[in-house]
Amino acid sequence: MPAPLLEVLNLSLTGTKVQDVSFALSRGEGLVLWGPNGSGKSTLLKTILGLLPPSSGRVMVWGQDPYRNPWVRHKISMAFQERILDPNLRVETALLRHARLIGAPKERFQAILVRLKLPLGKRLFELSGGEHRKTEVAKAFLHEAALYLLDEPTAELDEEGRSQVKELLGEALAAGSSLIVATHDPDIAALLSKRVDLGMAAPKFYRGRVWVEKWPHGLLGELAQLPIRFTPHPSPETLSRLGLPALPVKQMIFYQGSLSEQPGLPNATLPEEAFMENGLLEVEGPSEEHLLEAVRLLLQKGGRIRRLELEGGKS
């Protein structure tokens, strides 16, 4: 079994609610840190980056302690909450200088500027809170990292900004990067398959089960726009017809257009038709309305369902 990308073992950080926390993260997995202000989310992220030593327990990135071996940060990128770039520089200059320092290709730098619609020409001290947040996220994504640590990436952002950042996160997951996001944003939390709760009840996620009779082609792309996560359960007949391995169903999670696997399983891609014929779909989302929206889309595009069950016994 390959070593997990990140292992946090019995980690405690003095002065925070991070006490005896353990989790592991593999390639392509996302984790949300959920907790009230001051619970230690940012401190935990900085510890994973290797800026702070753990009070007890340990953090290992690819089997190495990032505090003792900062070179491991070559594969990690973090968006901080603090304003850490030179405030006198223009947005593009600050990012270009950072790109040069970390050896990011110019194409990636240009693509990020366009993707996040950054306020080019403005100096950093002139930026609003939201513009600054986007600049910090852009700085993090200049680096083609295997692990992104994002501290409140959508705080102070307007709807357009939030959706741009969400898209970036989804693409990073689809490309096989892992994410740890400290956030209070349920939409972002819904993107990520794992959660660590630091002293606050985790956000309510609504669950539903859809027995699909006929899946309309191309629905996948549209579902990927919704903040929902779904686990497909293809029928054994379909899998055998397509010559696909019968993976344990609970270990396949599909969201934002990509298949994510749990550690220890071989890489596999699952074509849309594999689970859309007489299959069962487990859906999770931040509200019941999001789940119904997914079903509505399916029906509008000519799909058919046999049965729909929502959490709490509604069907």
């Binding site: 800026l51 070179w71 990690i76 901080f80 850490i84 405030p87």
Partner: protein, 231 residues
């Protein structure tokens, strides 16, 4: 590691060179001081006195330029925060070492430009090497003192105070014999004195030992302090 050092060094130098409002007054002040001190000492003590003070003062001018850049511009003021530098995928010792070296290079450039204006020609390469070593040594000593400070931003003030000692407890203006006996060990160990003596044709072996040693130790202490501050 070398690539990281080079990248940060170039980043910092380009940043410093863009701060004309800092280095131009320094260049002006160093040039003016060389001309007035050189002229004044010659009036009272002839050519020997003129070269004594010129070679002493150019050494101090290097230190003064370096300290100003390193602790007031590079490390703390109006630039990327310490958190930014600490988050780079390089050991903090390398990052801070490269930043401080950039300050030493700029301090050496400013002083040697002023010296070149005074001489009417480019200074010798070996003189530049001596000035650079002095810059590294003094910056290392100031960095060592960071161990006693509650916060790194106090280094800016401390570097001004230590700059006074570097200047007056040295052989910049007076020979060693002019100092009271108790002060002589400090004067001798001062990298400014060692640099001035080397420029005046003396031994440079002490400087070759003290400068790299204090620089490396200073970086180590500064990086530890910076790590604590980032927390």
């Amino acid at each position: 590691m070398i690539r990281a050092l080079g990248l940060i060094l170039i980043w910092e130098l380009s940043h410093l060179l863009s701060r004309i409002e800092v280095w131009l007054p320094l260049l002006f002040s160093a040039s003016l001081a060389l001309f007035s001190l050189g002229g004044g000492y010659r009036t009272f003590g002839g050519d020997e006195a003129k070269w004594f003070v010129t070679l002493g003062f150019v050494t101090f001018a290097t230190v003064s330029g370096t300290l100003l850049h390193v602790f007031q511009v590079i490390v703390f003021t109006r630039t990327q925060s310490l958190l930014y530098w600490a988050s780079l995928p390089y050991p903090l010792e390398i990052t801070l070492g490269a930043k401080l070296t950039a300050g030493a290079i700029l301090g050496t450039l400013i002083a040697s430009l002023a010296y070149g204006l005074f001489l009417g020609r480019a200074p010798k390469l070996q003189d530049l090497a001596v000035l650079f070593l002095v810059a590294l040594g003094t910056v290392g000593i100031v960095a060592l003192f960071s161990a006693f400070l509650p916060r790194l931003d106090r280094l800016a003030g401390l570097s001004v105070v230590l700059g006074v000692f570097f200047q007056y407890l040295s052989t910049v203006y007076l020979p060693l014999e002019a100092f009271p006996t108790w002060a002589r060990p400090f004067v001798l160990l001062n990298p400014v004195s060692q640099g001035a003596n080397a420029l005046r044709g003396g031994e440079a072996s002490g400087l070759l030992l003290i400068a790299p040693l204090s620089f490396l130790l200073g970086i180590r202490v500064l990086a530890q302090k910076a790590r604590k501050q980032v927390r």
